[in-house]
């Protein structure tokens, strides 16, 4: 079964033009968002760069953390974080306030990260499963495992999967998102998330077995 990339491949929203209507709409939003976000989005819509900078600074740590799951190259990482906030600014006028700003930003971040993987999919080197690192990590006490090493090994391992499989595994198991949250972030249906997750696990299992690892059922 093939799933369309519709939701994740959406083009960036049209360039924002500050308007009175847009500002009024932002002020009439449901209370799903914080007052600070509300004020700064309104001011940002009217071209107040400082307000948008404050909004960015408040949400930046989460975006920085999220985008680190998409790349471990520091230059690409900074570019991805920047891209998320540029896309958010360009689409700010379309933000309806149905969900907190943070959730909306998470959807943009997912889309930007996924597109980054897709664009770099061809450049993926013919890596091999880091079996030695993996076995060392797996037989170490969980609290003694070096997080950076674990992150690096996980990244290398997931990098061998196609972007869709990788995305669903990152969201479900690294970010510990529920099926519902994953569906919301990707724009897929919940059934699609479950099927994609099952397929991704199957591919991961095959990779590990082909690398010589013996796995339980």
């Amino acid at each position: 079964m093939e799933f369309a990339d519709q939701q994740l491949d959406l083009e960036p929203a049209a360039l924002m033009v500050p308007s009175v209507e847009a500002t009024e709409r932002v002020h009439s939003m449901r209370p799903a968002m914080s007052d600070e976000d509300l004020e700064e989005i309104g001011a940002g819509l009217n071209g107040d760069g400082d307000a948008y900078a404050r909004l960015m600074r408040r949400h930046q740590p989460r975006v920085v953390s999220r985008m680190w799951k998409f790349t471990r190259n520091t230059a690409d990482h900074a570019d991805l974080v920047q891209e998320v906030f540029v896309q958010a600014y360009l689409g700010l006028r379309n933000y309806r306030g149905d969900a907190p700003f943070e959730h909306w930003l998470a959807r943009i971040a997912t889309r930007v990260g996924y597109r980054f993987w897709k664009n770099n999919a061809r450049e993926r080197s013919s890596q091999t499963v880091p079996v030695e690192d993996l076995e060392n990590l797996l037989f170490t006490d969980p609290l003694a495992v070096d997080p950076r090493q674990a992150g690096g090994t996980l990244h290398t391992l997931l990098d061998m999967l196609p972007p869709r499989d990788r995305l669903v595994l990152v969201l479900r198991y690294l970010e510990e998102r529920s099926v519902e949250e994953t569906a919301d972030l990707t724009g897929w249906t919940q059934t699609m998330v479950k099927v994609q997750s099952w397929r991704a696990r199957k591919k991961l299992r095959k990779l590990l077995e082909e690398a010589g690892m013996e796995l339980e059922r």
Binding site: F85, L138, P147, A150, T153, L154, R205, E216
Partner: protein, 84 residues
């Protein structure tokens, strides 16, 4: 241990990782304040070039239409061969 256990164990350790510090605010502000002018300039160029291409095409289209819609065109074209 199966693939899910491996994934979960790695993920649980990876979640404790300290992410590099990044501050892109200045970069973002520079991008969002600059492209509007650039975009407008690009759009103006596209509009100008489109207009430049459209004017001769419109004139040509009107001339062709005028020739094609002439009620005596068929009459003269039928006699054209005989006269020659």
């Amino acid at each position: 241990m199966n693939e899910l256990d491996i994934l979960k164990k790695l993920a649980s350790a990876a979640r404790r990782e300290e992410v590099p510090h990044v501050d892109v605010c200045q970069r973002v502000l520079a991008v969002i304040s600059a492209p509007e002018d650039e975009l407008n300039r690009c759009l103006a160029w596209i509009a100008g070039l489109s207009a430049a291409a459209a004017i001769p095409a419109t004139i040509l289209a009107f001339q062709t239409l005028e020739v094609m819609s002439d009620p005596l065109r068929e009459f003269f074209s039928a006699f054209g061969g005989i006269l020659l």
